[in-house]
């Protein structure tokens, strides 16, 4: 027993040494965990900026003098004449060329109650211009609506008749569940991290070793193929787990740099969430490593392993995407590997209570599936056809 364990230990150490020797593979493994939090931070910051902050928009006004109140309303929303732009911004805004034209007859038409055409001229296909265009449209619409309401009041009309229906919205979600954008992104990144981080290590330790003829040497030793597979599995899975932990830590720090309260949201990873997420993701890391080893051993060359595994591995990572589009989720999805974890993660982010039996069951199925893969693979490695890639 102790001899068996020391054999396994030696194998595991060997796998880790090899893994760490390949610096580039390690970089790939951990790049995800560092990049994802940064991407979440940058994306949230950009989105919040567009949604809430009102960075200045510069437009060329033609006939601004005819509608001072409208121009003031625009200025209140930080939509300013081009002439007020800073030297550094001027060129960008000149290129965007947003023009607002107010007709000379504005004042007279207003008093006469005629429809006044205010012209907004811009390149609607220019993506950076879309937010400014939306803001200009909003201001003009609100300004016009306010005048319309007052016109009705001045004619003795109860303006409430303009609102025949009032939709009272009631959201039963927990108050803490409002950082949906971040929860969805983080959930996706975590699953992908679990799947992708150990990828190159798994391929290298299987198809790679075969190409370097290390595998043959290894199989000549008096150790069971199960131990060999287990050692490779623990190396690749531990690297993914490390990568996930790193991602969670970096995310909880980096998200502090985003003022989510601006969009009425809040997000933090507390200890409970950290542990629960890890509990969900560790079985997935194991399953991913098992899958990767399984398929790259089947491939004839390193290159083939790379392409097959990458392709196959993307499939489970898409599970959460697919789940988003299923409106009526059948109950059994809760119990499946990956799907189950993905659903529980969603609940966790929403602040709902976790269905612990589903938690336990998916973890068990996931680990069991990995065990089946490991055993099958160990069996296969006993055949020369697989080892020499002759099939």
């Amino acid at each position: 027993m102790s001899a068996g364990f020391s054999q396994l230990k030696a194998l595991v150490i060997k796998e880790f040494k090899e893994a760490f020797r390949d610096k580039r593979a390690m970089m790939v493994a951990f790049s995800m965990s560092l990049l994802a939090p940064v991407m979440i931070m940058v994306m949230s910051k950009t989105m919040i900026k567009e949604m809430v902050d009102k960075p200045p928009v510069y437009a060329e006004f033609v006939g601004a003098e005819y509608a001072p109140k409208l121009v003031k309303d625009l200025a209140d929303e930080n939509i300013l004449p081009l002439a007020e732009a800073e030297e550094s911004d001027l060129r960008i805004w000149q290129e965007r060329g947003i023009t607002i034209t107010i007709p000379e007859t504005y004042g007279q038409d207003m008093i006469e109650g005629k429809i006044i055409n205010v012209v907004l001229n811009a390149d609607y296909s220019d993506k950076p211009s879309l937010a400014p265009i939306r803001r200009i449209k909003d201001v003009v619409r609100d300004h016009a609506r306010a005048i319309g309401y007052k016109r009705l009041i001045m004619r003795g009309v109860d303006v409430r008749i303009l609102q025949p229906l009032n939709l009272v919205e009631q959201d039963r979600a927990q108050p803490s569940s409002n950082a949906m954008m971040i929860s969805i992104m983080l959930g996706l990144y975590l699953l992908m991290g679990a799947f992708m981080s150990g990828l190159s290590i798994a391929i290298d330790s299987s198809a790679g070793e075969r190409e370097r003829n290390v595998l043959e040497m290894l199989l000549c030793q008096p150790v069971s193929t199960t131990k060999i597979v287990l050692a490779k599995l623990s190396c690749s899975a531990s690297i993914s787990i490390l990568s996930i932990i790193l991602m969670l830590v970096v995310t909880s720090i980096s998200i502090g740099f985003v003022d989510l309260s601006k969009i009425g949201a809040t997000f933090s990873i507390d200890l409970y969430m950290f542990v629960a997420l890890l509990g969900l993701l560790i079985p997935i890391c194991i399953l991913a490593a098992a899958l990767q080893l399984f398929f790259s051993f089947q491939a004839k060359s390193f290159k083939e392993a790379q392409s097959t595994v990458t392709m196959l591995i993307m499939l489970p990572a898409f599970v959460p995407f697919i789940l988003m589009f299923i409106d009526d989720r059948p109950m059994w999805l809760d119990w499946l590997p990956v799907a189950g974890q993905s659903i529980i993660m969603e609940d966790l982010f929403k602040g709902l209570t976790i269905n612990w039996s589903a938690f336990a069951f998916t973890s068990v199925t996931t680990v069991a599936l990995s065990a089946v893969l490991v055993m099958t693979l160990a069996q296969k490695l006993k055949s020369e056809k697989v080892v020499m890639a002759l099939s």
């Binding site: 005819y66 509608a67 001072p68 109140k69 409208l70 003031k72 504005y106 004042g107 207003m110 008093i111 006469e112 109650g113 005048i147 007052k150 016109r151 009705l152 009041i153 001045m154 004619r155 003795g156 009309v157 109860d158 303006v159 409430r160 008749i161 009272v168 919205e169 009631q170 959201d171 039963r172 979600a173 927990q174 108050p175 803490s176 409002n178 989510l260 309260s261 009425g264 949201a265 809040t266 933090s268």
Partner: protein, 497 residues
């Protein structure tokens, strides 16, 4: 009918305190909650807020001298802070009136007090006698009988008032300002907060001042927005209304288009006033909502009290020159459009007039001498019109009297931010000035171009949020208030440029 009249009476009387905003977030202190059997709290939905907030009830004695006697249920809501990871000392919102139910302002406060709500729970308690806290109710069937268009302020019978009073099941003497504060502090304690910040608007500032005197150790900071100090008498709004009206006139004259459109605005007003005093106008109009033929009666009281009500907000003010000018030319339709806004039984956030009367008639009315009434009536705007309601109703109202010490100025060194809007028709900046002189640790900021309640404005709310976060009165940068543009006016029936 009396109920409707009360409404008109009260708008004539007070133009209804602070109608502006109340929003509150609730900080849920679960630990302290379970131990209190007289407190219940649950997730709930309120009108105008999509997400769940906390609603609760706290049972307190009607008479604090008799803790085992009659009990009443106080209703409150809590708007939880957005950033629940960063719970700071919550803010309690004290509503205006007297008689506004704070919880009815939740949706408005949720939007307006955004900056505060980021990191602070906001606690809203219905003052006893309002909303869902043992509301002072009387039979109001008669209300539906007559419309705001036909009814006049003073065609009600004394017996109608007496019938209404006879309907109350509560001990009216317990529905006073001091007991309201005992209630608020009880809610604070029940929610497990050692200290709270308090924001009072309009009558809420008087409540806040009483709070500072009764439970200073409960308060971290105080914001007084549009101050009604204890030496001010609710009911005497003749002079302050006239001041606000004169500012309307001078601001219109200062704006070129307004000056051009209405060169004789005051003459227009005085002409309409004199004509309506001589003979009320009777017209047939299309009903503002139904479109059917409707009788409209306007007398001077109705005209003036409706305009006075509009002086509270910048939107209302922007339409008044045109309304006055058109009325002078015999077109009362703009006036009708404005009047139509009052055609609702008990709009959310409006004043519960029975509580208003109960407090104003007992805490203020007895202290007003005949010469005070006369001095207040000597003005060129509402004259004594805003007095008539209280002077008719108060003698009929059941009596309780606060101790003499109730009226003494409040001394306190709790950090206090005092805000005033220069255009305010009921709580002019001099009120804020007086409060500032009494308080040891306060700063008074006047918003030149705002009317009643400064925290209706983003900049004003920003100041409140910054103050309760940092408690740095001297360092508070109020420049955004100074940069607000002067009020502008509508100069034609279709609007203007």
């Amino acid at each position: 009918m009396w109920k409707l009249k009360r409404k008109v009476v009260c708008s004539a009387l007070l133009a209804s305190g602070l109608l502006t905003s109340s929003m509150m977030t609730s900080a849920e202190q679960t630990s302290s909650i379970s131990s209190q059997s007289n407190l219940s709290i649950e997730n709930c939905h309120v009108d105008g807020i999509k997400e769940q907030i906390k609603c609760g009830t706290l049972t307190v004695p009607e008479n604090y001298q008799l803790p085992a006697g009659q009990q009443i249920d106080l209703h409150f809501t809590v708007l939880p802070a957005i950033d629940n990871s960063n719970n700071k000392i919550p803010l309690m919102f004290l509503a205006g009136g007297p008689g506004q139910a704070a919880t009815e302002l939740a949706a408005m406060l949720r939007n307006r007090f955004y900056e505060v709500r980021k990191t602070h729970d906001i606690i809203l308690v219905d003052q006893r006698g309002t909303g869902q806290s043992s509301q002072l109710k009387c039979d109001d069937e008669a209300f539906t009988a007559q419309s705001v268009y036909e009814s006049l302020t003073f065609d009600f019978e004394v017996s109608e008032v007496q019938d209404c009073i006879a309907d109350f099941t509560q001990d009216l003497s317990q529905y006073n300002s001091e007991n309201a504060i005992r209630d608020f502090d009880a809610v604070r304690g029940a929610l497990g907060h050692d200290k709270i910040n308090v924001y009072g608007g309009s009558y809420g500032t008087r409540a806040a001042l009483i709070y500072m005197r009764m439970f200073p150790e409960s308060l971290n900071s105080v914001v007084l927005d549009s101050v009604a100090p204890l030496d001010m008498r609710i009911g005497l709004f003749g002079q302050s209304g006239a001041r606000s009206y004169e500012l309307l006139l001078s601001n219109c004259q200062a704006e070129e288009s307004c000056q051009k459109a209405f060169p004789n605005l005051d003459q227009d007003y005085q002409k309409v006033f004199a004509e309506l005093v001589a003979k009320p106008v009777e017209l047939s109009i299309p009903h503002p909502r139904l479109g059917t033929a409707t009788k409209l009666i306007i007398d001077a009281d109705k005209f003036v009290s409706t305009i006075q009500q509009q002086l509270y907000s910048l939107t209302g003010r922007s339409m008044m020159p045109l309304v006055i000018n058109q009325a002078a030319q015999g077109n009362f339709m703009p006036f009708v459009g404005v009047l139509a806004q009052a055609d609702e039984k008990q709009p959310r956030g409006s004043v519960y007039t029975n509580l208003l009367m109960n407090i104003a008639c007992n805490e203020d009315f007895p202290l007003i001498a005949e010469q005070d009434w006369q001095a207040d009536a000597s003005n060129q705007f509402a004259r004594n019109i805003s007095h008539r309601g209280v002077r008719l109703v108060c003698p009929l109202w059941p009596k309780y009297r606060p101790e003499a010490s109730f009226y003494e100025p409040v001394n306190s060194d709790i950090p206090t931010l005092i805000l005033s809007g220069n255009l305010d028709p009921v709580t002019p900046p001099e009120n804020g000035e007086r409060a500032d002189q009494m308080l040891a640790n306060s700063r008074h900021i006047v918003a030149e171009h705002l009317s009643h309640i400064v925290a209706v404005n983003d900049c004003g709310v920003g100041l409140v949020a910054k103050f309760i976060d940092e408690l740095d009165l001297e360092g508070l940068d109020a420049s955004c208030l100074a940069e607000l543009p002067a009020e502008t006016f509508m100069t034609s029936l279709n609007g203007n440029t």
